[in-house]
């Protein structure tokens, strides 16, 4: 290979700059960027050469289920926001606007798959049968986790952005080794092939902001190198708190997959049918060991980043209005009604179910437990640790002194109303 095979680096100044600028302009936010969409904002179902086949697998019951899930999680979001405003939660991270991206992808996963969320995936949690009240523990300050990931294969929320992406790839590398160990065992024992467990894949969520983190890059390098069965699911909700996607990337995020050597697809993140189809395709591909996949769900965070955020400081209401017109629930409702797949009774029932969930959450929040610092002592290490034991012993002795005082106080204030 001679030097003639190398691309030229001799730019002749402005012309090359202009050319690059034009290329950048051409892709930035350009609607011409290929995006898989099946259900348009007007509620009509389009076609796609690859993904229509996947959409065709969905019967009326499943489509109604998608709607019910999206409505339920939106109602939950409203309730959690209210609970934060009432001081029951320290913080809430709303998902409104991203229901289709989360329900569509979560419903495409299978029980044997393992999911690594970031911290806004309440909709995915719903699809993995996580008790939604348990999701609130972290935001109420009674746990840093809240559920046992082994019960649902839905990992804990991760707050250090993108830190969960290499975990997902490592988990997928574990699945690869499980399969080889199982094959070796089956070979050695002559076991029937029917006893083999179904193939699994890993799906990891992150956002447009987190896409700038080095861990996303390193994970994608590892995933590609080892052909790990992992699907990277990026919800591009257009805003990383106050910073727009254009600051994170100058090309569509889905294009980045090319640089790693696996497929990247942009899907309309407000189209639950397309999200489900694309994710099902990607997970099947990963489970079959064909390659990792990057999915960019093009969506929008309609509300604030968290309850501590104020979007009016950094974006216009016109932009929000544009995206509200692409609402994921409205378009599916239009479709279901137009096709005669759901009637008023169905939508009334969905509303009633949402209210029931909200009531459940409101009722349960007081039962989420009062944490005891002894639990933190107990869980710092899995095995006995002398320093932890010593500090706990000191703490017990120190607290016992106050217990005596408290008893004395109680004796003095007999009959008084205590909190």
């Amino acid at each position: 290979m001679g030097a003639t095979h190398l691309p030229s680096t001799e730019f002749d100044g402005t012309e090359a700059d202009d050319q690059l600028e034009a290329q950048a302009e051409a892709v930035l936010g350009d609607p011409a960027v290929p995006m898989v969409q099946l259900l348009g904002p007007d509620g009509t179902l389009g076609t796609d050469p690859v993904f229509s086949e996947y959409a065709a697998r969905l019967d009326a019951g499943k489509l109604r289920g998608f709607y019910a899930d999206m409505a339920k999680i939106r109602r939950f979001d409203v309730e959690a926001t209210a609970l934060q405003r009432q001081g029951q939660l320290a913080l809430w991270v709303p998902l409104t606007g991203q229901e289709a991206a989360q329900i569509g992808s979560g419903r495409a996963s299978q029980p044997q798959d393992y999911i690594f969320p970031t911290y806004r995936e309440h909709g995915v949690a719903l699809t993995r049968n996580v008790d939604l009240a348990e999701l609130l523990r972290q935001f109420r300050g009674v746990s840093n986790g809240g559920w046992n990931p082994k019960d649902t294969n839905f990992h804990l929320y991760t707050l250090v952005l993108a830190a969960q992406t290499p975990h997902a790839v490592g988990y997928a590398m574990g699945i690869q080794r499980d399969q080889k160990l199982a094959a070796a065992e089956a070979g050695a024992g002559g076991a029937a092939a029917g006893s083999a467990k179904p193939n699994a894949a890993v799906m990891v969520y992150f956002g447009d902001g987190a896409s700038s983190e080095g861990d996303v890059h390193e994970s994608m390098v590892f995933a590609a190198s080892y052909n790990a069965p992992v699907v990277f699911f990026c919800q591009n909700n257009h805003w990383a708190i106050s910073v727009p996607t254009a600051v994170q990337t100058r090309i569509p995020l889905s294009n980045r997959a090319k640089g790693y050597g696996f497929p990247g697809i942009r899907v309309d993140g407000n189209d639950v049918i397309a999200v489900h189809a694309v994710t099902e395709w990607a997970l099947e591909r990963a489970r079959e060991g064909k390659s990792p996949v990057l999915i960019e769900a093009f969506t929008y965070r309609v509300g604030a980043h968290t309850t501590a955020d104020d979007p009016t400081k950094y974006r216009g209401s016109d932009e929000e209005a544009q995206w509200r017109a692409k609402d994921p629930l409205e378009r599916l409702e239009k479709y279901l009604r137009a096709e005669g797949l759901a009637d008023d009774a169905f939508f009334e029932q969905v509303k009633a179910d949402g209210d029931e969930l909200a009531a459940y959450v409101r009722r349960t929040i007081h039962d989420l437990g009062t944490p005891d610092i002894r639990t933190a002592f107990a869980n710092t290490y899995a095995e006995a640790h002398p320093l932890v034991a010593e500090e706990l012993a000191w703490f017990e002795e120190y607290s016992a002194g106050f217990a005596d005082e408290a008893e004395a106080d109680e004796a003095h204030t007999d009959g008084a109303v205590r909190r």
Binding site: Y114, S143, N144, G145, N148, P149, K150, H155, L156, T158, V160, A163, T165, P166, H167, A168, V169, G170, Y171, A172, M173, G174, I175, Q176, R177, D178, K180, L181, V202, G214, D215, E218, S219, V221, F222, S225, T375, A376, A378, N379, T380, Y381, A382, E383, H385, P386, L387
Partner: protein, 326 residues
Amino acid sequence: MTTMTIAKAINEGLRATLSNNPRTLLMGEDIGPLGGVYRVTDGLIGEFGADRVVDTPLAESGIIGTAIGLALSGYRPVCEIQFDGFVFPGFNQITTQLAKMHSRSNGNLTVPVVIRIPYGGGIGSIEHHSESPEALFAHTAGLRIITPSNPHDAYWMIQQAVDCLDPVIVFEPKRRYWLKGDVDTDTPGHSADPFKAHVLREGSDATVVAYGPLVPVALAAASAAAEDGHSVEVIDLRSISPIDFDTITASVRKTGRLIVAHEAPTFGGIGGEIAARVSERAFHSLEAPVIRVGGFHMPYPVAKVEEDYLPDIDRILEALDRAFAY
């Protein structure tokens, strides 16, 4: 009983753990056909294959991060970080993820990841290849940190680290990789507990606590002090987190004087922690303040002056003189 170097002992320890548990695997840069830059993993890829001795992309955060995922899926990954100064790209994964996973999952998840880090100076190397960052990790709850000083401990400690349910960082004294010693591969014997300090030499006038690469230096200083009529006890700390304060305190109650020596800078270091705890536990036994011997508060200096930076026999003797002067 076999005689081998520390590097070979770790190699044999890794071979044993790979043989005993099909879910143990090694990960790191250049650990495959090359056998690692220090050849600690030499020959293992040939024996156990590329799925269990994994040459990784050159990305420390990726190595630790994927090891966490492997541990979550039931594996026992042993990561090699090529040099002490290169652990920092993986620092976030170690401190915010690995150390906290068990705690934040309320005990539901364990992440038994082992991280091997060759550390310390004295090898005439270039920048970032001679550091001792152990205190940064010791300050992080959730991690365990051990450091062998001899081949027998090296052989057993790496296996004990793999068997531990908690994440363990094994700091390997790279300038002692070629130190030879007897290894009993049949039984750990008195090294059964990796988190316990060992009294290597008994004495009655002063105690020197050292670990890793400075253990032979402390022993030599004790021999030199003996020539001057001072009986010096030497403790090999072995575990940096947790620290075996019982063994140290018992020794200080006997000798009344304590010197702590490490290559890492003294400010904010392990020596300071030991001094504080011993002053709380054995204040009335102390005949002199606890004296620290360690690196200066500066980036690890260039190789041509590292001899002025690293604690040596004379620096320990000078500290002993100061302690005896009280």
